[in-house]
Amino acid sequence: MYWLRNKWTLRALGIASALLIWEALGRTVGEALLAGPLLVIPELVELVADGEMPRELAGSLRQMLLGYALACCVGMPLGVAMGRSRIFDAIMRPWVNMLVVTSVASLVPLLIVMVGTGFGFRVLVVFIASVFYIVLTAYQGTRGIDPRWVDVGRSFNASRLRTFWRILLPASYPFLITGARIGLVQAIRGMVVAELFVIVGIGGLVHNGGLYISTANLLALMVTLMAVGVTANEALRYVGRRLAPWYEERYASGA
């Protein structure tokens, strides 16, 4: 029975049994409480064919990506600076530590009072949700860079600028990429938080999905969000492998 120990067989078995249990549960409690996959899949196909959901999703993702890009542009340099400068670290750390444990949902009512519920609000929530995770990962990564590497650069008479571009930056790629991945997950979460609160975009659809008698619509939207999350994560993992081939080793040893 060696094939039964194969990890791909086990994975396929796991997915199949999860779907079976889901379907069985759905049939037992009824679609008002939990629609089974046989109801959710046609619903999903219909949602995609109808065109409204993909449109809303695309709009939501555009705003999310803008907030996320801003968070990367601000968070990565900030994290690297904190990692390499003691003074800067000491100045920024209390604030970053405090803000990273602050749940973005608790800021939502305040942000609405400050900037309204429009485009800026949604971008801002995504930014706040992701930026501190990006900062902290970049910070921890650059702080942990082996000082010997810098010493080697110095003994070859590298200038400070050259040390930064040729040694410190490549050494921190794996952490910047990990930060980008964690940040993207948080950005997607922030996007849904903002949209569910003011009922727009894909989050608004999720809110409305909760109002139907059948949960098939709601579950189809959740499956969509799951697909978005998995795709985003895999995409960044691919980018990571291309930009920093030494990344995977580091990642594997950390897991």
């Binding site: 120990r5 990890k7 086990l10 994975r11 078995l13 796991g14 997915i15 049994s17 999860a18 008002a32 409480l33 003691r86 003074i87 000491a90 100045i91 920024m92 750390r93 209390p94 604030w95 530590n97 405090m98 803000l99 444990v101 602050t102 749940s103 973005v104 949902a105 608790s106 800021l107 939502v108 009512p109 305040l110 609405i112 009072v113 400050m114 000082p147 997607i188 979460r189 996007m191 849904v192 938080v193 569910l196 609160f197 989050g203 999720v206 809110h207 999905g209 909760g210 109002l211 949960t215 709601l218 939207l221 959740m222 969000l225 799951m226 999350g229 998995v230 994560n233 897991a255």
Partner: protein, 255 residues
């Protein structure tokens, strides 16, 4: 850290200075803009004081803690053993991993409408959301830790004749403890996040209620008071967990 990191001014002095300067900048900046946009820290401090003196914040906070604690304790009770099992048992890992990763990829806030359908709008729903949002995080962290237990530890234990129960209790449990603490800390941040999400998105209650009332009055001071309360609470709990960790597993060095 190395000797280069030691210097004359202790870090906590810089921290304190950074906090004081930051608060001063916030105070001066907030004085320039209307109070309904952003409140200065002096107003927030007064709000906090009044909230505690009148008992309003104390009652609300105690109410919030009730579902936070219950949901979190349940999440730990289920998440830690399950994470350990999934991490140590190869078959369980490959069977469950795709499903867990899938659920993990769904932004937790998207479960809110679902929680309403299953658990209503009140206490049960809040506990369920706290459980859900912290449970997955705890389980994933513990299973990653359990998977990463050094094989050499187990080999040494076996060489000295430890088998079954002994190996489990004397080698594996201590080896996985650092990850349990990490899981507790991450899980608690998520749980606090879920706590306030639940109070804002279900029938508003406790601290969420305080925030919604303040938002309706454009009382940014009141809003910030709750945000600060949550942030400080989050930091204190993290610090307490770190202290406990240092006592329980002194061999695990953490900077």
């Amino acid at each position: 850290m190395s000797l280069a990191r030691q210097d004359a001014v202790p870090t906590y002095v810089v921290y304190a200075a950074s906090l004081v300067v930051g608060l001063m900048i916030w105070e001066v900046a907030a004085q320039q803009i209307p109070r309904i946009i952003f409140a200065p820290p002096s107003v927030v401090a007064v709000e906090l004081y009044n909230g505690f003196a009148s008992g309003k914040l104390v009652v609300a906070f105690a109410g919030s803690l009730a579902h936070l604690v219950l949901g979190f304790v349940l999440a730990v009770a289920v998440g830690v053993p399950l994470g350990f099992l999934v991490g140590r048992n190869r078959t369980a890992f490959y069977l469950l991993d795709p499903t867990i990763s899938g659920i993990y990829a769904v932004p937790p806030i998207a479960f809110v409408p679902f929680m309403i359908i299953w658990f209503g709008l009140f206490f049960e729903a809040r506990v369920a959301l706290v459980f859900l949002m912290s449970f997955i995080e705890i389980m994933v962290t513990v299973s990653a830790g359990a998977r990463g237990i050094e094989q050499s530890y187990l080999d040494v234990a076996r060489a000295f004749g430890a088998r079954g129960r002994d190996a489990l209790v004397k080698v594996m449990f201590p080896a996985v403890l650092p990850f349990v603490f990490t899981a507790l800390r991450i899980g608690l941040v998520r749980a606090i996040h879920a706590m306030i999400v639940a109070e804002l998105f279900f029938a508003s209650a406790n601290l969420g209620r305080v925030m919604k009332d303040a938002a309706q009055r454009f009382d940014t001071g009141g809003l910030l008071a709750v945000v600060v309360l949550l942030a400080v609470f989050g930091l204190i709990v993290q610090e307490v967990l770190k202290q406990i960790e240092a006592r329980v597993i002194p061999w695990h060095v953490r900077d």
